[in-house]
Amino acid sequence: MLHIVNKSHRQTASLESALRLARDGDALLLIEDGVYAATAGGAVMAGIASAVDRLKIYALQPDLEARGMAGALVAGVAAVDYAGFVDLVVEHPTSQSWL
């Protein structure tokens, strides 16, 4: 299953809930304000740093760039472009957007 989170972990509980409900081996894609959770200043607090071992975690590169965060991506999280986003949706039979 693919989980998609587009809100900052400091503004809403969307990411917290996604991480709680995601099963080991699931994919998590962070987009829009969700990408702050994958940056050096946010990954530990957001729970991403401890989730990289059990989930496949991705962050959308254009959203990182827009926010000046492209250089701050933490290890264990893969940057994907829009084509990669589409591939992830195609690869997983179900997607959930945690709005």
């Binding site: 050096a40 946010g42 959203d63 827009a66 000046g68 492209a70």
Partner: protein
């Protein structure tokens, strides 16, 4: 002249708040008011250097913060706790700011005639 404070608490791009705040700030400055900007919580992300938004199809409005000086808007305040808890320092920001403790920020808010929240 009234003291206006604009409190910015949202990241740029994900919502329209940051951009709308800037627009109103510029309007207030045009009317010769005493304008200050406070950056709290995710609002601190509005000031991060190196924003390149071309590939998300939204205008990069961050250079506007550097232009505020030209409108005599020179009071930009950042709450230290919000900045540090996001792993950021003043060197990561694209404009000079005054970094305040939480207590100092509270005090400054108390002194305003009008506080507008974004």
């Amino acid at each position: 002249m009234k003291k206006f404070m604009f409190v910015n608490r949202k990241a740029p791009y994900g919502t329209i708040y940051a951009l709308e705040s800037l627009e109103v700030v510029l309007i207030a400055a045009t009317f010769d008011q005493d304008v200050s900007l406070a950056f709290l919580d995710d609002g601190i992300y509005e000031l991060v250097k190196g924003q390149q938004s071309k590939n998300i199809g939204i205008k990069n409005f961050s250079p506007t913060y550097r232009a505020l000086e030209g409108y005599d808007v020179e009071k930009l305040y950042v709450e230290r706790e919000s900045m540090e808890s996001r792993g950021l320092t003043e060197a990561d920001l694209l404009v000079p700011v005054e970094v305040l403790s939480t207590a100092e920020m509270s005090e400054l808010m108390q002194q305003q005639d009008v506080v507008l929240s974004f």
